[in-house]
């Protein structure tokens, strides 16, 4: 059954910046509906891997193969927002180009009513991240990539984030592929159906799809060991 679902695969991906290797021979495949937690120390290559998965960065070698249709939602370290547009204008633009839901619905779902007329550049980092998350989920993307999504959010924001990652947010018939790069195992770990550990640009451990609790714990302990 899984084999017929859309998949996103990387084959032998190599990427270097200024001759310094960041990704070394990454081969991995993800399928629709999976919720993958991507763990790794700072500099392990998580952000670069997400950019390659999004198709925004070209690899120096290897292939990216995707059978997904639709759009990709990506919360990156850059927030992909215009600082000199208001929250409502940013969301209207992204919703307009991807044929998404009305801005009022997005604003109220993400609790952005107070800020909707403010310029994004005038908001705190936490609120900017919240706007970027709202932007990420516009138009029900088939792939959702989140890079450290909880790092600047307050408790209420994290609750909203976990609801949306679980699929309780926008009404939808099929679940997207969700890949979350994070250090926040405590709060986001329970959402994952699969855990992948990255170290020095290589995949150190992979629990596989629909991993059991024991298997996930084993992979998390490998991550903790690699961080010592």
């Amino acid at each position: 059954m899984r084999g017929r679902e859309p998949s996103l695969a990387l084959q032998g991906i190599v990427k270097a910046f200024d001759a310094k290797p960041v990704l070394r021979q990454i081969t991995v495949s993800f399928q629709s509906g999976e919720c993958v937690l991507l763990l790794g120390a700072n500099g392990a290559g998580k952000s670069t891997l997400l950019r390659v998965l999004a198709g925004l960065s070209q690899a120096d070698a290897g292939k990216r193969l995707s059978s997904f249709g639709g759009t990709t939602g990506f919360l990156s370290q850059y927030l992909f927002l215009y600082n000199r547009l208001t929250v409502a204008e940013n969301l209207a633009l992204f919703s307009g180009v991807s044929d998404g839901e009305p801005v009022e619905d997005i604003v109220s779902r993400w609790g952005l009513m107070t800020y909707s007329a403010k310029m994004v550049g005038q908001l705190s980092r936490g609120n900017q991240v919240r706007v970027a998350l709202a932007r990420t989920f516009i138009g029900n993307p088939s792939i959702v990539l989140l890079d450290e999504p909880s790092s600047h959010l307050d408790e209420q924001g994290v609750q909203l984030l976990t609801q949306v990652i679980k699929g309780a947010g926008p009404a939808r018939t099929t679940m997207p592929l969700r890949i979350v790069a994070t250090h926040d195992i405590h709060r986001l770990g329970p959402l994952a159906t699969r855990i992948v550990v990255l170290a020095n640009g290589r995949i150190l451990a992979d629990s596989g799809s629909d991993a059991s609790t024991d298997e996930r714990e084993r992979v998390i302990s490998i991550y903790r060991e690699s961080n010592r």
């Binding site: 925004l56 960065s57 927030l79 215009y82 000199r84 310029m119």
Partner: protein
């Protein structure tokens, strides 16, 4: 096709809002243009040129100042995209590079044309020239030159955007490509100002049309490759 054009419209609206809020490019363009035009005009006046000589150097001054003032300002046209790399979010939302390119060309054409009109006004005053009799033709030349200029600098601006030397790089890369445009604009303006009409056998309107078509096709085809990492 309607959906494609609607997305371009949304992007143009975004560019207009960003320019209106910051007024960076228009302010820089017009300040550079007026500054250069006043200086060159004052220089020509101090040389006590008669009206006929002023008539002869007017097209040359107009085109030198137009090209230079535009090139010295365009490196900022891509700054809003780089702030939060919002263009990458647009690409992931299904916007194509060609839609992004076309929206930037349209807004840049409008800004460059405003710059051209401003220069025409300032230089005709400082050089004591009367160009009202051919204003329609000058507007057509200005508009088509502005669109050709925009087609080139938008793609070169994107290419140079990640370089710390982009302020120098964009004009340097653009300059050799702009020679056909410069000569076409200069020759047509000269014909209009000196003879009051375009020579029907002149090749320059065709050159300007060809420059527009070539740069636009190249830009539409290559912009997607240029902006991706």
């Amino acid at each position: 096709m309607i959906r494609w054009a609607y997305i371009v419209y949304l992007l143009v609206l975004k560019e207009l809002r960003l320019e209106w809020r910051g007024r960076e490019l228009l302010t820089l363009l017009s300040c550079n243009a007026v500054f250069m035009a006043v200086l060159t005009g004052a220089g020509a006046s101090s040389a006590m040129l008669d009206r006929i000589t002023g008539n002869k150097i007017f097209p040359m001054l107009l085109w030198v100042v137009f090209i230079l003032s535009t090139l010295s300002s365009v490196s900022r046209s891509y700054e809003s995209e780089l702030e939060g790399r919002a263009f990458e979010g647009l690409l992931l939302s299904g916007v194509t590079g060609s839609q992004m390119y076309l929206s930037k060309v349209l807004i840049s054409t409008a800004l460059f044309f405003v710059n051209y009109v401003l220069l025409l006004g300032v230089l005709s005053v400082t050089l004591d020239q009367v160009v009202w009799s051919v204003w329609k033709e000058l507007v057509v030349v200005g508009l088509s030159s502005s669109s050709a200029l925009a087609s080139v600098v938008v793609i070169l601006g994107a290419m140079a955007s990640t370089s710390r030397l982009r302020g120098v790089l964009t004009p340097l890369l653009a300059l050799p490509l702009l020679f056909p445009l410069f000569f076409a604009g200069l020759e047509m303006t000269t014909e209009l100002v000196l003879r009051g009409a375009l020579d029907p056998t002149s090749v320059w309107p065709s050159v300007l049309l060809a420059v527009n078509a070539v740069f636009l096709i190249v830009g539409l085809s290559l912009f997607d490759f240029v902006i991706r990492d």
